[in-house]
Symmetry: C2
Subunit: 568 residues, 2 copies
């Protein structure tokens, strides 16, 4: 692959790549992709142009030049804001997808880690330039409010992608391409060998993406696999194809410009009546799987896709322990926002809130568990009282499953604060619900709170004490998993106990969040998302373990003739 | 764990650790442990003292102070050189082993990567000082000749252990322990958080060791798991307990001196009539498994120990492709030595030698496949003609399974060069056999050469051409795996084709070995052993992927009060 005939994307992005590697190491704040959806950050007209691009995509066949197809997937996506997108996609059956990806990858696999990192960085740059188009696609497939769709679906997802590229690039370059081995001998001259070390991708990679965060959760696996020399077949959720179709379009453009076969990245959209993920994930030529979704299917993949390195982000029981606070108003504001954000449809939304039954101290006086549940309800009402603000926080309910669970939670008849229906004037057909808060007890309600209620459902659970709360955090997270844990305590000893509990349970901990950072948030280059240390995920976004299984370092060695040896 | 009351092993070994990390990166020749079994390298009297220590162990209960036991494993080991060792060991059932290890690990898990690396390096230093004792134990459990037992069982195994410590130490220290995250806001002051990052071991680690290289193949997993904060239960092969019992004794001594619970390392010897490895490997609290042994059980572990990170080194069809040579005598000498070394009982011994049927060019004129098989037999006879030299190369047959396979190979009636029985004057009861070479054909004998014949059995297989040989290398290795591949060719284009074939098949390649390096050998800090890219192994010794799955980095984060923020 001569770079003479093609743009040198590595040269264009090498400084960015070095910086990205540095920032994965120091874990401070950093992003190259502006998170503000403004013309000042993205250029005059960018917001309008992005929206127009999105509108242009509707009610037609999605443009993917030269993409293989076994027919067409009929337009089936419906915006949670209440209109059909009308986009149809190429249909690709698993056998063809895997075979096409495999044969397309020969030169991609053989080129250098530098060239691949450059191509990946260029794809990310163009995804960033398309952030408005992607934001609308994310909003109208996931139901996220626009600001979140822009940030989480655009620049923050791109951050996670670049983070994966940085790790992948660094790990492949960890060992030299060549080395001379010079072993002294007791008798005679040394044994001298020249060795080569070549990172080689593991094989076809399959990305099984989710409905709620198709890009944020999808980019790490996509870019980690690409950068390590593997072709990627993207199997989108059937309700959230569009953001990944745009991603595939851009990736293929860049690959082709760089002189590679664009089929290194494929979209494997499936029909509503077929379930292709199991066949894709267990295909003998598929050697890497990345998955975000249900605990059930994630566990199935781990147990069945044995021919592949499987990376899963499933779900769990995100937990808050309340012990005490000197900023009760801040606690309520922060927690209410965490419950309400995107209608609780985040894998990081707190579900189980453990509170001492008989009360805990606050700067506004003690609160019992019942009082706290009422106060949290009041804080939710206050947060969501203004309809425009409510829309900007809640977004819309992504699918009927969430609504079903909310109805089941209501039927439990343990409601401390009910869910309300809202109507958005701009989107009268959007299904909108505020969070429900129920009051549970550990002894009688274990079946309820040890089940995941993905959506706007949370529980205030009355415990005997903070020690009891921490014990429950530990036991439930070890058994059922969690992506987030949070503690409120003014006493250092309690915070220390919470840290030890979280370390032992294998979950990341946020302490005393009362300001502008929420437990749902996970910033690339600083926060790890998932730990691989509890059942909610078998991988973290993104660390070296996330990339090292995607390639092997293969070696060759040969003697160096005496005449070519230089003795020191 | 205060280092005030305990020796500071980290300070003692920190220079060595830094050097080891550097050498994993540059892949040149390096070892801190002398490979020559001499008094000059190991001190006056060291050889005699080591042998005396070994003799002292025989015919009694193995001394493991304070080691838990559920009774005693009767003395069952018999030296392949023809005498019973008479050593009995504590018997430990899986449930007790795992529970004891788990509860012993609390402080080990909580201490720092530095402290753990220091303890690991001290264990290695004392193992090195005991290299003669270990060498005798290895010789009389595996049947290796003494020189190999010393080198591979002692310093080379210690090299591999230190290499694993270096990777584990570096990976855990890759991220800072703390970081400040400072995110500018459009309005108001920045969001500032302090974060901690703590590497936490995954859980109980089980090492299932093999009969032939209990220490060389066992130390990487043992030390990688220890250094990343995990307790290790060592399940030795029932015929090769002693070398690992010595290892456990030394590890426990150092752990106790450093102030840790010695039960962080346990020996789980089993009775001859029980098979404990499956129960150990699938115990829910076991989170890491390291295995060396049969393809069958390795595949079983990968498919069944789903709760654990499983690292396997199984077996395969090590392959040689002969195309041409300008040093035919060197080729024959080198290859004969590779076949004979330790009676071919190495996971790296060549089995399938592909040769063009109608001949290949050499500096001594062309040779057909039949002529080559005869010449190889002659080279074996020459190499093993002197009885003392033969003993130093062949060692003894490790167990009856090897002998059975050799008899089956003889019964194939395709022998080009027969195996001979030898008798060692010093060890008249040792079972000794020279390598058998059989002549096969790809069309009729596929079933034979696609089966692994672990032991002194190799095949010269006549192909249509070198291209055909490379195709067979590719296909058999992809399907059945291999730990080594080797090519002889004087033409650069053929060598390049062989490299591409090996990259595609996922196997390391040695080219034109005619001197003092053999394809069986794999030097720590330079050569990778295994690739994870073919079915012979799902891990490589030792690279970052070998350690990254053994721990998670867990995070906590909190706001920094405005008064504690320092603005640049």
């Amino acid at each position: 692959m001569s770079t003479d005939q093609h743009p040198d994307f590595f040269a264009r992005h090498v400084d960015l790549l070095h910086q990205a590697v540095e920032r994965t190491l120091d874990r401070g704040y950093w992003t190259p992709y502006p998170e503000t959806p403004s013309a000042s950050a993205y250029g005059a007209g960018a917001p309008e142009l992005g929206e127009a691009c999105f509108r242009d995509l509707l009610d037609r066949r999605f443009p993917l030049d030269g993409h293989p197809a076994n027919g067409t997937v009929a337009a089936a996506e419906v915006s949670p804001y209440g209109f059909p997108l009308g986009v149809s996609y190429p249909h690709l059956v698993p056998e063809v997808a895997v075979a096409t990806a495999r044969s397309a990858a020969t030169t991609w696999r053989a080129t250098s880690p530098d060239v691949r990192a450059g191509v990946a960085a260029e794809i990310l740059a163009r995804l960033n330039a398309s952030s408005f188009e992607i934001a609308h696609a994310v909003q109208h497939t996931t139901g996220q409010p626009f600001m979140m769709a822009f940030q989480a679906g655009g620049p923050h997802a791109q951050d996670r992608g670049l983070e994966a590229v940085a790790h992948a690039w660094q790990e492949q370059k960890r060992h030299p391409g060549t080395a001379r081995w010079n072993k002294p001998q007791d008798k005679g001259g040394p044994l001298v060998m020249d060795k080569t070390f070549t990172p080689v991708g593991r094989g076809v990679s399959v990305l099984i993406a989710c409905n709620t965060f198709p890009t944020w959760n999808g980019y790490p696996g996509l870019f980690a696999s690409l950068a390590t020399g593997n072709p990627v077949v993207i199997k989108p959720h059937r309700r959230a194809v569009l953001p990944l179709a745009i991603t595939v379009r851009i990736a293929r453009e860049v690959l082709a410009e760089a002189g590679f076969d664009p089929n290194v990245v494929l979209l494997a959209a499936s029909r509503s009546d077929e379930r292709t993920a199991p066949a894709l994930a267990t295909h003998p030529d598929v050697r890497i799987v990345d998955f975000t979704g249900s605990r059930e299917f994630g566990d199935w993949l781990e147990a069945n896709a044995l021919q592949a390195a499987v990376h899963t982000e499933k779900a769990g029981l995100n937990t808050v322990v309340v012990d005490s606070t000197d900023d009760y108003a801040g606690l309520l504001r922060n927690l209410a926002f965490s419950l309400a954000l995107y209608s609780g449809q985040m894998c990081t939304t707190p579900q189980n809130i453990f509170v001492p039954r008989d009360g805990f101290p606050t700067d506004q006086g003690p609160r019992t568990a019942d009082e706290f549940a009422r106060d949290l309800g009041t804080a939710l009402d206050k947060l969501l009282g203004n309809p425009a603000r409510a829309a900007a926080i809640l977004g819309a309910v992504v699918n009927g499953g969430v609504l079903d669970r909310l109805n089941q939670a209501t039927a439990l008849d343990r409601t401390a604060h009910p869910s309300r229906e809202l109507t958005y004037p701009d989107h009268p057909d959007a299904v909108v619900r505020t969070p429900l808060v129920a009051r549970l007890d550990p002894k009688t309600d274990e079946d309820i709170y040890t089940t995941e209620w993905f959506g706007p459902v949370s529980f205030v659970i009355a415990t005997d004490s903070t020690a009891h709360s921490l014990q429950l955090l530990h036991d439930t997270v070890r058994r059922h998993g969690a992506l987030t844990a949070s503690v409120y305590a003014s006493d250092d000893a309690v915070l220390e106990a919470a840290r030890q509990t979280a370390l032992d349970a294998g979950v990341h901990l946020s302490e005393n969040l009362t300001g502008g950072v929420f437990v749902n948030q996970s910033a690339a280059f600083s926060d790890f998302h998932g730990t691989a240390a509890n059942p909610a995920a078998n991988a973290a976004l993104t660390d070296p373990a996330f990339v090292t299984g995607r390639f092997s370092v293969l070696q060759s060695r040969r003697h160096v003739p005496a005449k070519e040896q230089v003795h020191a």
